[in-house]
Each structure stands twice: as structure tokens, then as C-alpha cells.
């Protein structure tokens, strides 16, 4: 990269290659860095992917490609149970938190009431609280609530799918509210006024005007909630009851007993699931830009 490289016969009269030249070096460096980062991020994924098709019982020793561990995965009742739990929890918490989060976003953007500012600040707390803190909080809360329920109504409740779902709802509401709110902010408030002016009731104005227009935000929030719920480990492991673990928590438990190739297959499953969700949200946001 010396200065003489391009000083040939075709040298332009306006000699500004000296300005461009050093920039090329920087560009190469940046490009190289990008490849490095790329490799750093994706080599492990590639490794995981390849090894999940390894026939050997020992993770690191390659013998021959096979679907052995995938077969083991779909016949393993513990994995399937955890997967089912994950899906049930994700479904419940996504539906509930999307409804409540959208309502929270709307109420913060469209109405004025006493204590709104405090609510505004507190709503986002779950986004910033460390997971472990949140987990301990939820655990304490459930223990107290169960005691109270038992003492007052004689009902005995236990940890399980219900408590996991409630915990996921608790943190997902905040995330949904953030995403939906961003969409409402960009919405001209006179659209809702126009609906009311044209004889729509509150509910009709919401159904016919507001909801269709914030739908991409609501869908984005729902996808985020779904992804977060499917990935959650810390809080779930605190509030899960015996036999009601979710897939990531189950994998976590397996790893502590030693890495088996089965984990690779399960991890690939989760990876593919997550990527499909991200893909869906990308498609959704592209659609949002074109309409």
C-alpha cells in the first residue's frame, strides 16, 4: 500500500488519490474485522449444527453422520414434555401479555389520568431489573400468595405451568407495551377523533381504526413476547414446580449432568425455532414499511 501503486499514466489531473488511499486501508481493516466477527458468531453455530448429526455418544468425537440424536429427541418423553410445557407457557403468556401490554401502551399514550407518570416509569421496571432479582421476587410473591390462598379459602395451589405463565406474563407486558407504544406514537391522534366524529363508539373506533393501524406493532410485540418466553431460563427455573420444566430449563439441567449429543439436537431445534420467529418478525416489519 505504497503511494506509488496507482501513480501510473492514467493519473488524473486533480490529484486526490492521496485522500482516498488511506481510506482503503481502513476499509480493508473493517471488512476483515467484519469477517472475524462473523466467524466468531457463526462458527459455534455451525459446529453445533454439524455435531448434532454426529453418531457418536461422545460429543467431540466424529464418527459418521446420522439422525440418531434427533430420533432420540422425539422419542424422549422428558424432552417432549418440556417442549409441550414451553409451547403452552409461551402461548398463554403471549396472548395475555399482548392484550394487557397493548392496553397499557394505549392507556399511556391516549389518556390522561392521575398517577400516569408513575405508572409510566414503573411499567418498564421489568425490562431493567436483573432476571435473578425478578425470579426471587416472583418466587416470594407466589409463596406468600399461596399461603394467603390456603389460609383464606383453603385452596392449595402449587408451582407449575400456572406460575411459570404468570411470571412470563409479568415481564412480557413491559416488552409488548414498549413495542406497541412506539407504534401508537406515530399514529395521528386525529384519526381516532375522526372515527368518533363519524359516529363510531369508543370500541368501534378501536376495532376499525386504531387496531388495524397498530397491528404491526401488536404483532411485533407478540413475537417478541413469544421469543422471550421460549428462551427464558432464570425466572422459569425459580418458579417451575416438579415435573413442569420448560425446554430451555430442561437443557440447562442436562448440561449440568454432562453434555450429551442429545443436547445438540435439542439446541438446534430451539435455534431453528428462534430463527423462524425472527424471520417472521422481519417479514412483518417489511410489510409495515410497504403499506
Amino acid at each position: 500500500m505504497s503511494l506509488t501503486d496507482t501513480s501510473g499514466a492514467s493519473r488524473p489531473l486533480v490529484a486526490d488519490d492521496s485522500v482516498i488511499r488511506p481510506k482503503r486501508g481502513v476499509e480493508r481493516l473493517l471488512a476483515g474485522n467484519a469477517w472475524l466477527v462473523f466467524a466468531f458468531l457463526y462458527l459455534p453455530i455451525l459446529l453445533l449444527f454439524v455435531l448434532s448429526f454426529n453418531d457418536n455418544r461422545v460429543v467431540g468425537v466424529w464418527t459418521e453422520p446420522s439422525l440418531r440424536w434427533y430420533r432420540a429427541m422425539i422419542t424422549d418423553s422428558a424432552v417432549l414434555g418440556a417442549l409441550r410445557n414451553s409451547i403452552v407457557v409461551a402461548f398463554i403468556s403471549t396472548v395475555v401479555s399482548t392484550i394487557l401490554g397493548t392496553a397499557a401502551g394505549l392507556s399511556l399514550e391516549r389518556f390522561r389520568y392521575r398517577g400516569q407518570r408513575t405508572y409510566d416509569g414503573l411499567l418498564y421496571l421489568p425490562v431493567i431489573i436483573p432476571d435473578v432479582t425478578m425470579a426471587v421476587m416472583m418466587l416470594l410473591f407466589f409463596v406468600q400468595a399461596f399461603d394467603l390462598l390456603g389460609a383464606m379459602l383453603g385452596v392449595s395451589a402449587t408451582f407449575g405451568i400456572g406460575t411459570i405463565s404468570l411470571s412470563h406474563i409479568a415481564f412480557n407486558i413491559s416488552f409488548v407495551a414498549v413495542v406497541v407504544r412506539a407504534r401508537i406514537v406515530g399514529l395521528d391522534p386525529s384519526l381516532e377523533e375522526a372515527a368518533a366524529d363519524l359516529y363510531a363508539s369508543r370500541w368501534q373506533a378501536f376495532r376499525r381504526v386504531t387496531l388495524p393501524l397498530i397491528a404491526p406493532g401488536v404483532a411485533g410485540g407478540a413475537l417478541l413476547a413469544l421469543t422471550l418466553s421460549l428462551d427464558e431460563v432464570v425466572i422459569t427455573s425459580f418458579v417451575a414446580g416438579p415435573g413442569s420444566t420448560t425446554l430451555p430449563v430442561y437443557v440447562f439441567g442436562l448440561v449440568r449432568r454432562g453434555v450429551t449429543p442429545l443436547i445438540n439436537a435439542v439446541s438446534v431445534l430451539m435455534l431453528v425455532g428462534s430463527m423462524l420467529l425472527v424471520l417472521a418478525s422481519l417479514l412483518l416489519s417489511r410489510q409495515r414499511n410497504t403499506t
Binding site: D188, S190, L191, E193, A194, A195, A196, D197, L198, Y199, A200, S201, Q204, R208, V209, P212, L213, T291
Partner: protein
């Protein structure tokens, strides 16, 4: 003369010449006004309407509209005119139902509606931003109000087609608002409101986003549509020219208060306050001392004939429009039917269709006047520094209250 004319149009009713588009409204309105024995019911009546918003700088409420009394007549094109922040939009939003008055009474055709929600009021709004529903086609936008009122489908189709013809949007029914020009969006907004046959149509600076040419074309168009459908229009604008050209009557507002209501001629020729005189058109303000009921004296000693309406010895401000003044040579013979002031031309400005002369009269306490003469063929031109006589008909001077 003006009052007489207005009374005439009211008696005959703007409903007499009506297209079949709005037959239902016609009969409804006629039925309502039939109850009243003498004066017809005003379309909108505001009595002592005040609007305070919480939270100014020192947590004092902001008074956006202050004790407004206003009658808007049935079938008229009524403009709310005033500078930015004077409370025009707030007044309109209270009539629409988007804001509730802090005090006072608000009636639409005799019915108290001050606390009704917007969807329960027989009025529709054309928003400044148009507020068209972006996810619906033109036809769906226009049909929205009728669908909400659960009208039969065939009637909805008929009325949508009618109003699309009225605003000349044929062939664009299937488009989305984004695929239309600003002027076309404006028409959709108008059609979406008009299709409901509202008793009152509210428009908040509907032409604000259009360029000058289109704006002028739409002014005529709006006026044509208003005359055709005969619905009361309440039109908010800060553009005095627009208000003057379109309105049957104008209300001038400032600082949340109503300063003057009248037809365009009245507002222009006989402004009651300094603010109104200044805000609408150009004006010459002259300080004068009252001599008696019919005469006052300017500072330079000139005596002018005006109905002063103030005790002798007090000081009043006179307003006279530049184009109501005429120029004459100083040494020419005086016409005693005209009041006049002798002075010197200080500056001549050529405006194309007119010429502005700045004239200074008097030595110790000079009076400055702007005279505007139309650039018509044969009119005499004067030069800088020339001695001239500025003359006017006594009736063209207005006495201001402040």
C-alpha cells in the same frame, strides 16, 4: 342595507335552493325551525363558553377560550378568524365534541350538546391534516360514517356515489389516501364529512396544506359546494383574505376572546377595535380629539367628519383604509363634500396593480398616511416630494373603541 339583505336570505331560507343530495337534512331542519315562532334557531349557539387547559408555566390554567357568546345562523358560511393561538381550533373542537367546555352552554339547533361525546352530535369535521384512514380506500373512508350509523348497504352505496360526484372524485374510489394528491385528499375529507348530511360542518384550516393556486381553486370549490348543499359551515382560518372571500359572516378572535362579528364588508369597512382594523387588511390609524358628536380634530389641526360617539375633548383612534383615500394636487380647488389633509409625498411604491404613496402631513406633530391608488389607465401619478391633498368621503373613516 346589509342587514336587510341578510334577513332576506334567512327568510327565504338557504334551504329553498337545494339539490336533492340533502333532502333529508332539509326537512329535518325545517321541522326544527318550525317550532320557533319568530327568529329561526341558530345552528350553533355558544353562551359564555370558556375553556381552560390545565398546566401553564406556573400551573395556572391556560384560558384558551374566554367567555364566548356566539350565534351561528342556519345555512351560513361562518368563519372564525384570528392569529395563531387565539383559540379558534379550541372553539371548533368544543363544537365537535373533542373538548368539553369548562363553563358555558353550547347548543346545536337548540339542543344542549356541551357534554355529549362527538359520535352523538349532528356535526362532522374536516381536519386540517385530513385524518383520512390510511388503511381504507377512498370509498371505504367516505362510507365509514354511514356504516357506523348502520344504514342499509344500498343507501350507503347511493350516498357515497352522490357525494363522490359532488366533490368530483369519480374513478378514484378504489385508491388509498396515499395514492392521492393533496387536493384530492382534501376532497375525500370533505366528502367523508358531507356524506353524513351533518347539520353543521366544521372545517379547521382545511386548505392550510395546499399551495397557493390550488388553495384559491379550492376556496371557490368549497364555496360552491356549501351553496349547493346549504349546510352551515364553520370555517377556521388565520388567513384574512380567505375569510373575506368565502364567508357570509366572520368572527374575529384574539386571546380567546371574540372581538367582532359581522359580514365581510362590516369587518373590513367598520372595524370596531384597533386589533380588527390591523389584522384585516392594511389600515391607517389616526389619533384625533373629539370636538362634538360629528367632528374630530387630527393632531395637525385638520377637522374631520366622523360619528365620534365619545364626549368632547376625549381622544379617539380613527381607522381608514389606504384605498379609500384619494390624492389630489395641493393647490387644486377643494371639494367640500370630502374631508382632506394636505401633506408631502415621502415615498412611492409601485405594487403592479396599485401604487402606494406615503404622505406626511403637519409639521410639529406629523400625521403619516398610506394612500393606495389603483394602477388604472388615465390616473394621475405623483412623485416623491410633491405637495398633495389627501381626500376621502367622510363615511369611509371608522372610529375605534380602543
Amino acid at each position: 342595507m346589509d342587514d336587510h339583505q341578510l334577513a332576506g336570505t334567512l327568510d327565504a331560507g338557504p334551504l329553498a335552493a337545494k339539490t336533492p343530495v340533502l333532502d333529508t337534512v332539509t326537512t329535518e331542519v325545517a321541522a326544527v325551525s318550525g317550532i320557533e315562532v319568530d327568529a329561526p334557531l341558530p345552528a350553533v349557539r355558544l353562551q359564555g363558553v370558556t375553556k381552560r387547559f390545565p398546566g401553564g408555566r406556573n400551573h395556572d390554567p391556560v384560558v384558551a377560550v374566554d367567555d364566548l357568546d356566539l350565534d351561528i345562523r342556519d345555512g351560513e358560511f361562518f368563519s372564525l378568524l384570528g392569529p395563531s393561538g387565539c383559540g379558534k381550533t379550541t372553539t371548533l373542537r368544543m363544537i365537535a365534541g373533542f373538548e368539553y367546555p369548562s363553563a358555558g352552554s353550547l347548543q346545536i339547533f337548540g339542543q344542549e350538546v356541551g357534554l355529549e361525546p362527538p359520535n352523538k352530535r349532528p356535526v362532522n369535521t374536516v381536519f386540517q391534516s385530513y385524518a383520512l384512514f390510511p388503511h381504507m380506500t377512498v370509498a371505504k373512508n367516505i362510507a365509514f360514517g354511514l356504516e357506523m350509523q348502520q344504514l342499509p348497504v344500498d343507501e350507503i352505496d347511493r350516498r357515497v356515489a352522490e357525494v363522490i360526484e359532488l366533490v368530483q372524485l369519480q374513478g378514484r374510489e378504489g385508491r388509498r389516501p396515499k395514492q392521492l394528491s393533496g387536493g384530492q385528499q382534501q376532497r375525500v375529507a370533505l366528502a367523508r364529512a358531507l356524506v353524513n348530511h351533518p347539520k353543521v360542518l366544521l372545517l379547521d384550516e382545511p386548505l392550510g396544506a395546499l399551495d397557493l393556486k390550488l388553495r384559491q381553486a379550492m376556496q371557490l370549490e368549497l364555496k360552491r359546494i356549501q351553496e349547493q348543499v346549504g349546510i352551515t359551515f364553520v370555517y377556521v382560518t388565520h388567513d384574512q383574505e380567505e375569510a373575506l372571500t368565502m364567508s357570509d359572516r366572520i368572527a374575529v378572535m384574539d386571546g380567546g376572546r371574540l372581538l367582532q362579528v359581522g359580514d365581510p364588508e362590516e369587518i373590513y369597512d367598520r372595524p370596531r377595535t384597533r386589533f380588527v382594523a390591523d389584522f384585516i387588511g392594511d389600515t391607517n390609524l389616526l389619533i384625533a380629539e373629539v370636538l362634538d358628536a360629528d367632528t374630530a380634530r387630527l393632531y395637525d389641526g385638520t377637522v374631520v367628519r366622523v360619528p365620534t360617539g365619545a364626549p368632547a375633548g376625549s381622544t379617539v383612534t380613527l381607522a381608514v383604509r389606504p384605498e379609500k383615500l384619494g390624492l389630489w394636487h395641493a393647490d387644486a380647488e377643494r371639494d367640500l363634500r370630502l374631508d382632506a389633509l394636505t401633506g408631502t409625498i415621502r415615498r412611492v411604491t409601485f405594487l403592479g396593480n396599485a401604487i402606494n404613496y406615503e404622505v406626511v402631513a403637519g409639521e410639529r406633530a406629523p400625521v403619516e398616511l398610506v394612500v393606495r391608488q389603483g394602477n388604472t389607465p388615465g390616473i394621475e401619478h405623483f412623485a416623491d416630494g410633491e405637495r398633495v391633498r389627501v381626500r376621502w368621503l367622510p363615511g369611509s373613516v371608522a372610529v375605534l373603541e380602543d
